[in-house]
């Protein structure tokens, strides 16, 4: 299968698929209030065909970074290049949100082909391709159902199908499974790993869960809050496919998890604006009970 790629496109200036250079972004809650530095002087390169997770405590600018990559907002300073060009909204970016954002008045099928409809694709193609991706996500028989008739996990699979239908080169996922129950969440993680096995492209995945980040990623970017900055980047070299064995028992997994958790915990308890500020003085154990 082949897509029509314009031949005259300029080659990327860097070898990275996404290049973030000294980017800063701040917001004001109100006109008079002081600016909040969501991101300050952040630089990051994301390699082609890699799965990168952004982890860190609340307020570290993970979601802001994702919105910058998508072109929904623009940086105050610095430069972002996606495939050598400034970020642009459109079908080359697939998005999955925590709040699933299906249109309640459309059937699941019509929700899935929405991005194609935006490009004025013929209805026949829309339906054909929607059904293909619904089958890929294992929800083919729910094409005619309405979103509220499906469980949260199936709704999120429909949202994944919608994100994939325009064959994006980039998939941006903003805490996609945070609202799902623990068991559904684990199955959805396997779904994502399987999609990764069969499809190519860059995934940027925002999560609060250290376990989820290690399980899915090639690389983990740990961010620190106020101002949002990159604290550390780590690569994950656990063997694939990771759903085939008890990856959580792997000693590299355990080591990475401890390292990331210690880092995040230190940021949170030392952050005066955090609700857990200095709570480590009453905490006994150094590792959490669960992910």
């Amino acid at each position: 299968m082949n897509t029509h790629v314009p031949q005259a496109e300029a080659a990327s200036l860097t070898s990275a698929a996404i290049s973030i250079r000294n980017v800063s972004k701040s917001f004001r809650r109100a006109e008079s209030s002081p600016p909040v530095h969501a991101l300050k002087n952040v630089s990051l390169d994301i390699a082609p065909n890699s799965f990168v997770s952004l982890v860190g405590p609340s307020g570290c600018g993970k979601t802001t970074l994702l919105r910058l990559l998508n072109g929904l907002i623009e940086p105050d300073e610095g430069e972002i290049l996606v495939d050598g060009k400034p970020p642009m909204r459109g079908p080359h970016m697939g998005l999955v949100f925590q709040s699933i954002r299906l249109m309640p008045w459309r059937t699941i099928r019509a929700n899935v082909y929405f991005p194609l409809e935006l490009q004025n694709a013929p209805l026949k193609d829309c339906i054909e391709r929607a059904d293909h991706y619904l089958a890929m996500m294992g929800i083919a028989k729910f094409g005619d159902a309405y979103p509220h008739e499906l469980s949260g996990g199936m709704q999120q699979r429909a949202a994944l199908a919608r994100a994939l239908i325009s064959q994006p080169a980039f998939l941006l996922m903003d805490e996609p499974f945070a609202a799902l129950d623990a068991q559904t969440r684990e199955f959805m993680q396997i779904e994502v790993m399987k999609i990764r096995q069969n499809l190519q492209g860059v995934v940027v995945f925002v999560t609060h869960s250290v376990d989820e980040a290690i399980l899915l990623s090639d690389r983990i970017v740990m961010m620190s809050p106020r101002p949002g900055q990159i604290a550390e980047t780590l690569s994950v070299d656990l063997p694939h496919p990771r759903w085939d064995y008890d990856v959580r028992a792997n000693k590299d997994f355990v080591e990475l998890r401890r390292h990331l958790w210690e880092g995040i915990k230190a940021m949170v308890v030392n952050d005066p604006e955090s609700e857990f500020y200095q709570r480590d003085r009453v905490m006994r154990s150094t590792t959490p009970a669960g992910g």
Partner: protein, 300 residues
């Protein structure tokens, strides 16, 4: 394998373009191995017996009302409250002599013309006010003022310009029915789901596409609710117009029979107006169910 034939916005560097997209290859197939057993079992059993029993209860209430009516009529006498049988006789009489058919015809013309005109004007205006915030904000206080104002006060003015005939009556109905439809349409657009708008914008939707594909369908339940309120007001204003301009239609008959104390035909007209109201509301409810199937549980 399927491919999007035209990808106007495909922007990839040639050497790595084809490898960069989330393509499905031969092994893609079904990855949903873990089918979460959850089917749509909410519908079906349970709904049907309930509907029958509601219908039965409604018949019971209807019979009860007729019984009370009969007792009250017996107590006061036919000169004040005609009995159901007396009313039925009057219905046959004034239907046969042509009074009811011609009055009903002219009332329906006024009601439907005024109501449809109000829909035609109010929905686009409301969408426009919601779509262009400055325009909407500028008109808002005037819209509120007009909606709170008794429209009856315009009738002398309308008579000066449009006379006493159909035009004047339709204008009164139009003014009465328009405001709730306008306000609801405007509110519906203003309350569109910001998350869905952001999703569409991120997917590359134009502002026009966002308006047409997100804001408009999102406003639909509000618009239909406004149409229902508007229908009730349209009927009220139809009768008001028939009483205050040239006396005709069902409103006219109300006035003629009422002023001459012919209570049995008077009751026929009152019941007929109730039936028109009921038919209109039922029609709009059916329309609402049809058009808002997926809205059942609101946003997802």
């Amino acid at each position: 394998m399927m491919a999007v034939k035209a990808r106007p916005q495909a922007r990839k560097s040639p050497e790595k373009g084809p490898k960069r997209s989330f393509r499905d290859d031969e092994q893609a197939g079904t990855v949903g191995a873990q089918e979460l057993a959850h089917t749509n079992s909410m519908q079906g059993a349970g709904a049907r017996p309930l509907r029958i029993s509601i219908g039965a209860w409604r018949v019971v209430v209807g019979l009860l009302l007729i019984a009370i009516w009969t007792i009250v009529a017996y107590y006061f006498g036919d000169n004040f409250i005609p009995s159901p049988i007396e009313t039925a006789r009057a219905a046959v009489r004034i239907t046969a002599d042509g009074a009811i058919p011609s009055a009903l015809g002219s009332t329906l013309i006024v009601f439907l013309a005024g109501y449809i005109l109000s829909i035609i004007v109010a929905i686009p205006l409301g969408l426009f006010m919601g779509g262009f915030r400055i325009f909407g904000a500028a008109l808002e206080p005037y819209m509120d003022a007009l909606s709170a104002m008794p429209r009856v006060s315009f009738i002398p003015l309308i008579i000066i310009f449009l006379g006493l005939g159909y035009e004047a009556k339709i204008c009164v109905v139009f003014l009465g029915a328009m405001m709730p439809i306008l306000i609801n349409t405007y509110t519906g657009v203003l309350n569109s789901d910001a998350d869905l708008i952001e999703m569409a914008r991120a997917s590359g939707a134009s502002e026009m596409q966002i308006f047409r594909m997100i804001m408009l369908p999102g406003a639909l339940p509000y618009i239909i609710a406004g149409m229902r309120v508007g229908a009730g007001l349209a009927l009220i204003n139809t009768v008001v117009a028939e009483l205050y301009t040239a006396v005709q239609g069902l409103g006219g008959l109300l006035s003629v029979y009422g002023n001459t104390f012919r209570m049995a035909p008077y009751f026929v007209v009152v019941i007929l107006l109730a039936i028109i109201g009921l038919a209109t509301m039922r029609t709009l409810k059916a329309l609402e169910r049809r058009m808002t199937r997926g809205y059942a549980r609101g946003r997802v």
